[in-house]
């Protein structure tokens, strides 16, 4: 050890150890840590862990992120006449539950999370006998009743009521079934002591936000991912030796040529208009080995608690891989994210195309149309007026790595 400083640090270490020796870390944090480990191990056991690969003929992971935002954004004054539930019941303390369809192929793992923070609300893991066990964010069991149609009604933990002020819940699932790349979202049930109201994902829209939602500014300190609404970019560019991202504006003609070269007669369905598009590429994103082509998802890697959050289908039949990271665009105003790309139920992102041009090639993202962006709030303003950033990230396991770059003006 090096002289004085080594001795000083050893002394500090001893003093700190004495300082912590009276604490009951296991008692204070043990349950939480155990729960987090259980969830991550369960996800990995289900085959959606980092780097896990499905072999030919097996099923791609189906992961879908459904905006549950704006709970009750539809008018709810009419009892029984609405499809949406309100988070602001007028009487009683609301009890939330979710009706989850599990009879959709072989869903191995599903969860409902607070998309803004990544907090897990409900975790469901398929057991060997085909039944499901549901736990809360700490790994504690939740009451769940299985219906005759194969669905479960899961009582959400009491703390879920705190989600009334947040913007978005997301539903994810991992399936091992070729038949179901699109997984139906759960139905949210609110029972406030009066009429019980239900809402399915389709009726939720992420914008506008419900009244009373904390401002993005108020939440900004808690936003740590450039994929998330409210993130404030401290710099125009962040790149490391591990991950970098570049972006350039291309003409519609150049984009068509590139799509023709890559996809031929299976060119993406996204219409290429006459306006300029953005072509972004990430460098350093993990690639797979073997005869697997992987793409990336648009999903924030931090939202998956270390699990994989997207799905891909290779251009080579029967070859699939789980995805290690995300590559996406965000719209900003004054350097703050006010619009993001939210994939549809089937993972599709109209207006945006993701691709790797071959095995182990760097992933590319093409923003064809700004309609790919979804405003975080009703006050985000016109999408056309926003500045754009391309953002990338992956779970380096351990640790999340992010990079971003401001898209130059056309």
């Amino acid at each position: 050890m090096n002289g004085d400083l080594g001795n000083l640090l050893t002394g500090e270490m001893g003093e700190a150890e004495a300082r912590f020796s009276h604490e009951d870390f296991a008692g204070d944090y043990g349950r939480r840590v155990m729960g987090r480990v259980r969830r991550r191990r369960a996800v990995r056991a289900a085959g959606v862990g980092g780097g896990a690969m499905l072999t030919a003929g097996a099923l791609a992971i189906g992961a879908t992120q459904v905006p549950w935002g704006a709970l009750g954004v539809a008018g709810l004054s009419d009892v029984g006449g609405t499809d949406c539930a309100t988070p602001w019941p007028s009487v009683g303390v609301p009890r939330y539950s979710a009706i989850i369809d599990t009879d959709q192929g072989s869903i191995t793992n599903l969860s409902i999370v607070d998309a803004a923070t990544g907090t897990v609300i409900v975790d469901g893991v398929r057991q060997a006998d085909g039944t499901y066990v549901f736990t809360d964010g700490y790994g504690d069991s939740l009451d769940a009743v299985q219906g005759s149609a194969g669905h479960y009604t899961v009582a959400l933990p009491p703390g879920v009521t705190s989600l009334e002020s947040t913007s978005t819940l997301a539903f994810r699932s991992a399936a091992v079934s070729t038949n179901y790349l699109s997984v139906r979202p759960p139905t949210l049930v609110v029972d406030d002591g009066g009429a019980e109201r239900q809402a399915r994902g389709e009726c939720y829209t992420p914008s506008p936000m419900p009244p009373g939602e904390p401002s993005l500014t108020a939440n900004r300190d808690a936003v740590v991912s450039p994929f998330q609404c409210g993130f404030e970019f401290p710099t125009n560019l962040q790149a490391t030796s591990e991950l970098g991202v570049v972006a350039r504006v291309v003409s519609a003609d150049d984009l068509r040529s590139e799509f023709d070269r890559r996809f031929g007669n299976q060119s993406p369905t996204t219409d290429v208009g006459e306006g300029a598009a953005v072509w972004a590429s990430a460098t350093g994103m993990p690639t797979s080995t073997g005869d697997v082509i992987a793409t990336v998802s648009v999903t924030d890697p931090s939202a998956g608690s270390g699990s994989i959050t997207g799905w891909s289908v290779s251009r080579e039949p029967g070859v699939y891989q789980l995805l290690p990271g995300g590559l996406s665009f965000v719209g900003t105003r004054d350097g703050v994210v006010v619009a993001t790309v939210v994939p549809g139920y089937d993972g599709a992102t109209p207006g945006m195309v993701l691709d790797r041009d071959g095995v182990d090639a760097d992933p590319d993202a093409f923003l064809v149309d700004r309609s790919a962006l979804t405003a975080c709030t009703s006050t985000a303003g016109s999408l056309d007026s926003l500045d754009l950033y391309v953002v990338a990230g992956y779970d380096a396991n351990p640790g999340l790595v992010y990079a971003w770059n401001e898209v130059p003006a056309p």
């Binding site: 700190a16 150890e17 604490e23 155990m34 480990v37 351990p398």
Partner: protein, 184 residues
């Protein structure tokens, strides 16, 4: 007896948290300069270490693995966090009181005056006795970057603690730390 077979991770995780937490928290606190954050860091390190399917044969092995994960967790957390400009008055306060106080008592304050990566490099170099190359591999940084962090941090610490920091070693960059505080 719990953990007799050591095949299941739960008893071992529980044992690490019950028996080794003070030492791990102390290490995390030294790397973060913040006792409260040390608790968060240790939780993340435990989760990472036990979520990866690795089998530990003994609590010592598990503790070592968790301990090794802590610097990476600290760096990752600092990456995700927006840098908060340090209050200049706070730095002056630290610097002003350092020469007259006992060095061992001041080291925590001095560490707080470093940036997260500087602090990590200093702890790994001078407490864990790692070489520059080992630190670089551990933190996922380039050798030159580690040398720069060590150089900058050593200069700051020398100023704050008034002690000469010996970086003369094959794998470290020579540093001429300002010896303005008198103590050698």
């Amino acid at each position: 007896m719990r953990g007799m077979h050591m095949a299941r991770w739960e008893p071992l995780l529980e044992q690490v948290m019950r028996e080794r937490a003070p030492r791990l928290l102390a290490y995390a606190a030294m790397l973060t300069g913040d006792d409260a954050e040390a608790h968060d860091v240790l939780q993340d390190a435990l989760v990472r270490s036990f979520s990866r399917g690795r089998r530990f044969d003994h609590v010592n092995q598990a503790e070592a693995y968790v301990r090794r994960a802590i610097p990476s967790v600290v760096i990752d957390r600092s990456r995700k966090r927006r840098p908060v400009p340090r209050d200049p008055a706070e730095q002056h306060h630290v610097a002003a009181q350092a020469p007259d106080a006992d060095a061992a008592m001041d080291v925590r304050s001095a560490l707080r005056g470093l940036a997260p990566r500087e602090r990590a490099c200093i702890v790994l170099r001078f407490y864990d006795d790692l070489t520059v190359a080992q630190i670089a591999a551990h933190l996922g940084l380039a050798d030159g970057t580690v040398k720069r962090y060590l150089s900058d941090a050593s200069a700051k610490l020398a100023g704050l603690l008034g002690s000469q920091i010996d970086l003369r070693e094959e794998n470290t960059v020579p540093v001429t730390a300002p010896l303005v505080k008198g103590r050698r």
